[in-house]
């Protein structure tokens, strides 16, 4: 496409959003066009502090990616609510729902106003079906992420078992 024509049609905001998603580990290795397709399958929503995204025990069907703001993950224990961590921009959570539809293992609450992107399981499945190259890359990235998580858990377990009581 000639430069003058590209200037007429170019979406500046698209480039900014693309740059944001490029840094999310699940999207590593996707070309701009492939990432553009994934972006179209996602839904953006503005959240306010105090809003609950999901509750522990509810069926999980979507993955959440924080564009701005902060989200707290917590779990109910016998002693009450236990904070698992605070997530910020560029971080993703709820990805287990994309692999197998499971009940949520934690509650997610917005603690700072911001914007969050959601990708629903059926949308991911449609992407895998219609664009297998994108699907393979996304699923591979998810496998790598889970592998890293397992490695970290093993290390943690190892550290805990070695620690004298």
């Amino acid at each position: 496409m000639p430069r003058w024509l590209r200037r007429i049609f170019k979406n500046e905001q698209h480039s900014e959003t693309l740059a944001f998603f490029r840094n999310i580990s699940i999207f590593h290795g996707l070309s701009s066009r492939q990432l553009g397709r994934v972006m179209l399958a996602m839904q953006r929503r503005a959240y306010q502090a105090g809003e609950k995204l999901f509750e522990e025990g509810h069926a999980g069907k979507a993955v959440f990616i924080i564009k701005s703001g902060k989200v707290e993950l917590s779990r109910l224990t016998a002693e009450g609510s236990r904070k698992l961590g605070i997530l910020g921009p560029g971080q993703m959570f709820g990805e287990m729902a994309l692999l197998e539809q499971m009940n949520r293992t934690a509650t997610a609450t917005v603690i700072e106003d911001g914007e969050i992107y959601l990708l629903y399981t059926a949308s991911l499945e449609a992407l895998v079906r219609h664009h297998p190259r994108i699907g393979v890359r996304l699923l591979r990235n998810m496998a790598i992420m889970l592998s890293a998580l397992l490695r970290r858990t093993n290390k943690e377990l190892d550290r805990l078992t070695r620690t004298p009581v």
């Binding site: 693309l18 066009r33 995204l53 069926a59 499971m102």
Partner: protein, 355 residues
């Protein structure tokens, strides 16, 4: 949820209820708007391809619209002269067809009365077929002024539908974002799920139906043309259109083509050819077009499809017939996601993993 958003949601729900009530009262007015949204839905994947490449949606929509208008103009230029010629021919021949039909019915009535008179006597006259095609045509001619008005109504639709589709395509994403922003946070995931599932079901169905209808229309046009049938384009297009309604194309399209073929004085071999053509189209549709084009996008029980079609006709006439199956599919998706909400179990039991 904070109070401001709570009241926003309450007012949105109230607004939605009022809108639904209003739509049910004057639903006919909404048909072109509804069709406009469907047109937008059909064009959306094409726009999405360009949008994914980083192009501005509004400008892409204008270019795609110009392209579609050019393609439509080309199609009309190619098909319309033949279509009009055939329609004029059939209309000119209509009184003769009606007369032949009435003569055929009269002969049948005479034979029937003759056979039954021996058993029933003068009561046999009650068993005559009370059908006169000429009377039907007269009744149709009497309604011509109102038909012209409905044609004017239809012409207005031709302007409204692309107009609505244009705004739905350029601003649709913003409207969807607004719906999500108004939905309470806890239900966003469910709403997204519902929209994604409906999109997955409907998208494949509507686009598949259009393509399948096109395939059926082309095969019928080619077949009827090869058999020397006057009105191949008209009846091919009619069969393709009828294909939008389950089980309608072979009955209405085939039945009418056979009847017109008979009145055109086609030999028995050609009439058999028309019968075989519609049988072939049915088989092609069932074994090639539907599995390859439509797939299993709408998983509905055949009994449910028949029920939906009948209910659709009762509620909305021809448009009700066309939209019966997709609407039933949407209701099924909504019910399975709301009433059938289930708790999930892991796909693999952790005890079976050795690491």
């Amino acid at each position: 949820m904070n109070q401001g958003r709570f009241w926003k949601s309450v007012f949105s729900l109230l607004g939605l209820a009022v809108a639904v009530f209003f739509i049910t009262r004057v639903w006919a007015v909404f048909i072109p708007f509804f069709l406009g949204f469907i047109l937008a839905y059909l064009v959306q994947p094409l726009i999405g391809r360009f949008e994914a490449a980083g192009l501005r949606r509004d400008r892409v929509v204008i270019v795609v619209y110009l392209g579609l208008i050019a393609a439509l103009a080309l199609l009309v230029a190619l098909l319309l002269p033949g279509f009009l010629r055939e329609a004029q021919q059939i209309l000119a021949e209509l009184p003769r067809y009606a007369q032949s039909f009435d003569e055929m019915v009269a002969r049948l009535n005479a034979d029937l009365t003759g056979s039954l008179q021996k058993i029933l006597g003068h009561r046999a006259a009650a068993f005559q077929i009370p059908f006169r095609a000429e009377r039907m045509i007269d009744a149709f001619v009497e309604t011509v002024p109102s038909n012209i008005l409905s044609v004017a109504h239809f012409a207005l639709w031709i302007i409204i539908i692309p107009f609505v589709a244009f705004f739905a395509l350029t601003q649709g994403r913003r409207w969807i974002d607004a719906i999500f922003d108004l939905t309470p946070a806890m239900y966003v995931e469910s709403l997204l799920g519902m929209m994604a599932e409906i999109n997955a079901t409907l998208g494949a169905y509507i686009r598949g139906q259009m393509l399948e209808g096109g395939c059926v229309a082309l095969v019928t046009m080619a077949g009827l043309g090869a058999l020397g049938f006057d009105g191949a384009i008209l009846f091919g297009a009619l069969t393709g259109l009828m294909n939008l309604v389950p089980m309608m194309a072979p009955i209405v399209g085939g039945g009418l083509a056979l009847l017109v073929g008979y009145f055109q004085g086609m030999p028995a071999s050609s009439l058999f050819g028309i019968f075989m053509l519609f049988l072939l189209v049915r088989l092609l549709d069932d074994f090639i077009f539907i599995p390859f084009v439509l797939g299993h996008s709408v998983r509905l029980h055949p009994v449910l499809i028949v029920f939906a079609v009948l209910a659709g006709f009762e509620l909305g006439g021809f448009l009700g017939l066309v939209f019966a199956v997709p609407v039933a599919a949407v209701i099924k998706v909504i019910l399975s996601l709301t009433v059938g909400e289930r708790r999930f179990v892991p796909l693999v039991d952790e005890r079976h993993i050795v690491s």
